[in-house]
Amino acid sequence: MEQEPIIIADKLVKTYKSRTLSVAALRGVDLAVNRGEMVAVMGPSGSGKTTLLNCMSGLDIIDSGSVTIAGQALADLPDDALSEYRARSMGFIFQLYNLLPVLSALENVEMPLLVSGEKPAHARKLALDKLAEVGMADWADHKPSELSGGQQQRVTIARALVNTPSIVWADEPTGNLDSENANDVMDLLCRLNQVNNQTFVIVTHTQEVGDRAERIIHMRDGMIENDTDDGAG
């Protein structure tokens, strides 16, 4: 399948410097992800997966190299434009802290729509639809603290997908879930990937999750060790 890449990372270098020591989290990463691709990033803890995700999505600054998304170099984009791009075209599922504790599930999900200027009534409808899609319609008015870990993760997914983003970044989306729940969530992600032709970059520790992706990237010590294009196909 020959396609133009939507995400291009070129010689990414990221070093964390604290007062006493510096950690090279990314040491020259080159990566291209095509539109509609589902990529799994795997590797041992501390190998730089989260850092790579943050840098490619523009949540973090890189020391050198470049990231281009949909033909636009991130370095050239001012902060506001980048924020707006995230609101319209990206969805995020984080390793920790996904939801605003003070808002209900529904309010959390409709937030990205409101940010991109959707009409409130329409936003509400879309958000409810998305919640229904992840099986959380009955929990719409509950606060995150009243939901289980798996339920919270589904709400997060609903929020990440509610604005039909072209790229979804997910950091351990199934990390806190038992295998059954994890499977459900992955089913959901795969279905959406196929139906909407959205691009997914998923960081994971679990082989089962990796197996369901089209392509697995293995990281070690801040570098790509191995890039297989033959995952689930």
Binding site: T50, N54, C55, S57, L59, D60, I61, D79, D80, S83, E84, Y85, R86, A87, R88, M90, G91, F92, F94, L96, Y97, N98, L99, L100, P101, V102, L103, E107, M111, P112, L114, V115, S116, G117, P120, S145, R159
Partner: protein, 1161 residues
């Protein structure tokens, strides 16, 4: 300033300092017992500089408010004191003829003068005595046509300067008094300034015997003998030879005062002054009268009554009064009328008042009357301690200022204490991890508290110092405003004065209350539910686990023997800590608190039900009704309501309702009931409770309760309050997500939001009440100028020594005046006298009080028949309108109208002005129609019998505040040897006539009468602008309180940035722009501030509306109106300050980089 809230300042300072030292000693003991905790606490301080600074700012504001209130009081009293000391100079005591009208028979005979001088010249305690004549005469400067009217002229005996300060020229040189020529005049600086005259100039003095030329010998400092003595209209004084002035006044060798200087410099001791004055007074009492009094009192029946009274009131009488009364009894039994001891007792006003009371109580009002009449004639000469009295006034006014500012400042102080609490909650929240670890490795909760208190003590120390500094700075600024309130022509000017004692007191008081709050906060904070707090959920505190009944009983038992139990521990378990705790608990107060806590613990499960609380409330309420105390009654009622709320919550908790809903219902009901109760008009419940006495403390209480209640209601119903904001602002597309985030957080952390809202509300509440009332009074003045001026355009004072015989004729003859310009011209004068009411009134007996001081005002018929002054009450039998009642006075010298001061006041801000003549049976709030009643008016000369007058009306309190009796010019014809001269004239001008021009022409025409004219319109304007300046002063002062609210917003916001790092990162990830984060912080704090401001404004409006209605019962015509400009300024200033404070944390938040935020725990 010597007293504060009735407590001597010296004692207060010592008490506070000792309390502080005690606190520090206890801290030191604990610290030495547990160095690690001390280190732990102290080490936290330098860790975060910015945070430490913020904490110190937060903690210093209460101290600053105390310091500035004290500095204001000090300044006012020292300003008055300094001007008093300046103008009196060496004079400590004055001897004058008895006061019955300044213009009537007011000279000492040469014999009296001699006997005074003989006495004092032999007295080693006396430095000097100066016989003199002081009067008011106009002085002209022919060179520039300037005139000084209403100013004083004093004739001094230049041979008797010993003991008095010499005159000093404005260049500081001593003026050699021997060089003062017969027709020479010394001008004090004020007079020289008024006349623009210098040494060597020729001036004309207008005297009753004609105009005379004088030469200015020198211009001297306005001090000492050249200083003013109680002349309200001018500080200008001219000094000449006594004999010259005596000749000019044609009074031979008479003087009208002798000033006495006693040893001890400018400020001799109060005791010496008392002694000398007392001794002098004894020498000038009428022996015949003393004999008669002795006979009256030594009558066995009277003596028995006094003895019984002293015996019955053994304990309640003040020790010195009891001793004096006992002395009087002894004298009456064994002494005689000539004995000094007897005389000294009957010249003691408290002894005399007590005896009068005893006689009155026994129903022997005939005796009281006789004795009062005799007492009035007892003193031949009036000896007064002018300096001591003036200094006392200085202290009283100073304390009054501090008290007023203290009362309003107490709101800010309370808010400041809330802030300290908030700061500690935030501090604890930021230490959650450490506290968790500390607990995990076995630190006791008590130890956490201690290390917090140690840390807090350091903050308290630093902030108390900083607070005193800030308070003094603020008071410097406020005094600039204060100086504008004081009119220029008053006898003193404001200059900054601060006693070191006040600095110490504000530091000690500030640090003590800060330490107490810090300790309470540390205790509370150590039970913070950390996990919950960090997530910003509603329930920030965990309740204490409840012990079993058995354990609670055991605890109570141990508390009852607390110190001994500790010593038992020490001996049996060799627990050394017990020694210190035991010693501490031996302090009765500490022991008591331990017991109280144990009792509360024992009862706590029942308390949670609420009905016990309500029961206690009922008891307090009943107690309040019994004590006739509105404050206690209202507190009790509120406690009932709170108990009710707890009961509702207790019951609802048993149902299936969610906790959230339960608290919402119970808190809303409780808050709403409290609001309704406290916002009811103050007399709404009178039919239930009878009339209760409330004073200024009610205002403080109502402020606290209404804001607390309103904040409860709002915080538990926030969606409803925020709905309109959401609807309106939310429709702006870009703001929608921002609002969502901004509104959700504050409503979740109800505790800190509520606290901050309450701070704003309380301060704005005070500002609003003050502004509304101030405006109401200003408005009343402006709206009702006729009620105040009587419809006259010009009012003028003239000298009693230079009366105008017939003003109409004089106007007709004056070349520069046109009689056609005047519609009405009329004169009046006032004299001090004494009166008593004759009962019964409307069939009710009245209690006999004897004669009490009252002002008599007599008006010419032309004024009585044309004035537009109003009456608050009158007897319709004498007329149907105010005008008809006034006119009735014109025709009948036996009818009078009484000034509103004769009615007992229930105005919440009204003061009690000593023992003035008051009327029984009528109250200010009674309906307009009353029944006329008789009063007896006495002549202190005693030569004439008292006369009976009929009071047919009570005058408008807006104009006639004092206790007075008003009638026509014949009113006192039978009481005084000759008609008193008229000293005030009023003029109503024809339409179109320029009052300025006429007033100038009048002053010229009546220069020889020392005619001093004022436009009534100017008087009104002065009053209004003084009102406004006072409002400004107050707002400036309360601004300090506003600072507290703003600081708390800052603290909350800084904390929020830290707590919400991850949330902010996540919001950024889903597309929030940096500016949206910033806006959301600003919107959040704006909403908190604006809700608080809005609540304060609304509650303040209602409460002041009630207050005005109360006042309106006394002052008809006061109306409520919203001071929109002030409201706008309050809102703008409070809001802008809030925005500025939150701007920095908001910026910080917006700079958080998403990935950075999302990483940390």
């Amino acid at each position: 300033m010597e007293n504060l809230f009735g407590v001597p300042m010296g004692g207060l300072t010592i008490g506070m300092t000792v309390t502080l030292l005690l606190f520090l000693a206890i801290l030191a003991i604990f610290a030495s017992r547990n160095r690690v905790l001390l280190k732990l606490g102290i080490r936290n301080i330098p860790r975060r500089r910015a945070q430490t600074v913020l904490i110190i700012i937060g903690l210093m504001l209460s101290t600053a408010i105390i310091a500035s209130a004290l500095a204001l009081g000090d300044t006012v009293s020292s300003s008055i004191r300094n001007s008093a000391l300046d103008s009196l100079g060496a004079t400590d005591i004055t001897i004058e003829p008895p006061q019955f009208g300044e213009r009537v028979g007011e000279y000492l005979t040469p014999e009296q003068t001699h006997s005074v001088l003989d006495l004092v010249d032999d007295d080693p305690r006396v430095d000097g005595a100066m016989p003199q004549v002081r009067t008011e005469l106009p002085i002209l400067n022919p060179a520039n046509q300037r005139a000084s009217v209403g100013s004083s002229v004093v004739g001094v005996d230049t041979a008797r300067m010993a003991g008095f300060d010499q005159f000093r020229t404005d260049r500081g040189e001593v003026f050699p008094i021997s060089s003062l020529g017969r027709m020479d005049l010394l001008l004090n600086e004020d007079m020289a300034d008024e006349l623009k005259a210098n040494a060597g100039d020729e001036l004309t003095v207008v005297t009753p015997t004609g105009r005379q030329q004088f030469t200015v010998a020198a211009v001297v400092e306005s001090k000492g003998l050249a200083g003013v003595r109680g002349n309200p209209s001018s500080r200008a004084v001219g000094v000449m030879h006594l004999s010259t002035l005596q000749e000019a006044l044609d009074i031979q060798d008479s003087v009208n005062r002798i000033e006495i200087s006693i040893q001890g410099g400018l400020r001799p001791s109060d005791d010496l002054s008392d002694q000398v004055a007392g001794d002098l007074q004894l020498d000038f009492i009428n022996s015949e009268v003393a004999d008669q009094l002795f006979m009256t009192f030594s009558d066995p029946e009277v003596l028995g009554l006094i003895e019984d009274y002293v015996a019955e009131n053994e304990t309640s009488l003040q020790a010195d009064l009891r001793a004096n009364l006992q002395d009087l009894i002894d004298q009456l039994k064994t002494g005689d009328a000539a004995a000094r001891d007897f005389r000294s007792q009957i010249t003691d006003s408290r002894v005399v008042a007590t005896v009068a009371l005893v006689l009155g109580n026994a129903g022997r009002s005939d005796l009281t009357l006789g004795a009062t009449l005799l007492l009035a004639q007892l003193e031949v000469l009036n000896v007064s301690e002018v300096k001591t009295n003036l200094l006392e006034i200085a202290n009283t006014v100073g304390s009054l200022f501090t008290t007023i500012f203290g009362i309003f400042g107490s709101f800010s102080i309370m808010v400041g204490l809330l802030l300290i609490f908030l700061v500690f909650v935030m501090l604890a929240a930021s230490r959650t991890t450490e506290m968790g670890i500390a607990r995990a490795i076995g630190t006791k909760r008590r130890h956490l508290v201690q290390s917090f208190v140690f840390e807090g003590a350091v903050y308290a120390f630093a902030s108390s110092i900083a607070g005193v500094g800030l308070g003094l700075l603020a008071s410097l600024a406020l005094i600039q405003i204060l100086a504008r309130i004081v009119p220029d022509d008053v006898n003193f000017s404001i200059s900054y004065g601060l006693q070191p004692r006040s600095v110490l007191l504000s530091f000690a008081a500030g640090m003590v209350i800060t330490l107490i709050t810090v300790s309470i906060s540390a205790y509370r904070v150590s039970r913070l539910n950390i996990a919950v707090a960090i997530r910003g959920l509603p329930e920030e505190f965990v309740p204490n686990p409840t012990l079993t009944l058995k354990n609670r009983l055991i605890q109570l038992l141990l508390a009852l023997i607390a110190p001994f139990y500790q010593f038992y521990l020490l001996v049996a378990k060799s627990n050394t800590r017990a020694l210190y705790v035991g010693l501490l608990q031996l302090i009765p107060l500490v022991w008591g608190i331990v017991i109280v806590i144990a009792v509360i613990r024992l009862l706590s499960p029942y308390v949670r039900w609420g009905w016990t609380v309500s029961a206690v409330g009922v008891l307090i309420t009943i107690f309040g009704v019994n004590q006739l105390s509105e404050a206690i009654f209202s507190t009790g009622a509120s406690v009932i309501v709170i108990g009710l709320g707890m009961l509702i919550s207790f019951i609802l908790h048993k149902t299936a309702l969610r906790d959230e809903v339960v608290s919402r219902i119970s808190y809303s009901i409780m808050g709403a009931l409290l609001l309704v109760f406290w916002l009811l008009p103050s007399n709404a419940l009178d039919s239930l409770t009878g009339e209760l006495n409330g004073n200024i403390e009610m205002f403080v209480l109502s402020g606290v309760f209404v804001t607390a209640a309103a904040v409860w209601v709002v915080m538990y119903n926030s969606e409803i309050v925020l709905w309109p904001i959401n609807k309106s602002l939310g429709s702006i597309g870009g703001l929608r997500p921002v609002l969502k985030a901004a509104l959700a957080y504050p409503m979740e952390s109800r505790f800190r939001t509520g606290l901050t809202v309450a701070m704003f509300a309380l301060i704005v509440f005070t500002l609003m009440v003050f502004a509304v009332i101030n405006r109401a009074f200003s408005n009343t003045t402006v709206d009702n100028t006729d009620r105040i001026t009587g419809g006259y355009d010009i009012v003028a004072g003239i000298s009693g020594d230079l009366p105008i015989d017939d003003i109409d004729e004089a106007i007709a003859e004056a070349p520069n005046l046109d009689p056609g310009d005047f519609l009405v011209v009329g004169g009046s004068t006032g004299l001090p006298s004494e009166a008593r009411q004759l009962g019964p009134y409307l069939g009710e007996e009245i209690s006999e009080l004897g004669f009490q001081p009252v002002n008599v005002s007599i008006f010419q018929v032309s004024i009585l028949t044309t004035n537009l002054w109003e009456l608050s009450h009158f007897d319709p039998e004498y007329g149907n309108t105010d005008a008809e009642i006034w006119a009735a006075l014109a025709n009948d010298p036996d009818l009078v109208v009484a000034g509103a001061g004769v009615l007992p006041s229930d105005d919440p801000f009204g003061g009690d002005f000593g023992q003035q003549f008051t009327v029984q049976g009528i109250e200010a709030s009674d309906p307009q129609s009353i029944k006329a009643f008789d009063v007896e008016l006495s002549s202190p000369f005693g030569a004439q019998e008292p006369v009976t007058k009929k009071v047919i009306g009570i005058a408008d309190p807006l104009r006639f505040q004092e206790s007075s009796l008003i009638g026509n010019t014949d009113l006192i014809a039978d009481l005084v040897p000759r008609d008193p001269p008229l000293t005030t004239y009023r003029f109503r001008l024809a339409p179109g006539v320029d009052p300025d021009a006429v007033s100038a022409a009048l002053e010229t025409a009546f220069l020889d009468n020392n005619f001093d004219a004022i436009l009534t319109a100017d008087q009104i304007n002065d009053q209004v602008s003084a009102n406004q300046a006072f409002n400004l002063l107050f707002q400036g002062y309360m601004g300090l309180g506003l600072l507290v609210g703003v600081a708390s917003l800052g603290v909350v916001s800084f904390r929020a940035v830290v707590e919400r790092r991850q949330a902010i990162g996540m919001l950024r990830a889903i597309g929030f722009r940096a500016s949206m984060i910033r806006t959301s912080f600003l919107v959040e704090s704006s909403i908190i501030a604006l809700i608080g401001i809005g609540l304060g404004l609304a509650l303040g409006a209602v409460v002041s509306w009630n207050l005005l209605n109360d006042i309106n019962e006394n002052f008809e015509g006061i109306r409520f109106s919203v001071p929109w400009l002030t409201v706008a300024i309050i809102v703008a200033v409070a809001w802008i300050f809030s925005l500025v404070t939150t701007y920095f944390p908001a910026m910080q938040a917006s700079r958080i980089y998403p990935a950075e935020a999302l990483r940390y725990e």
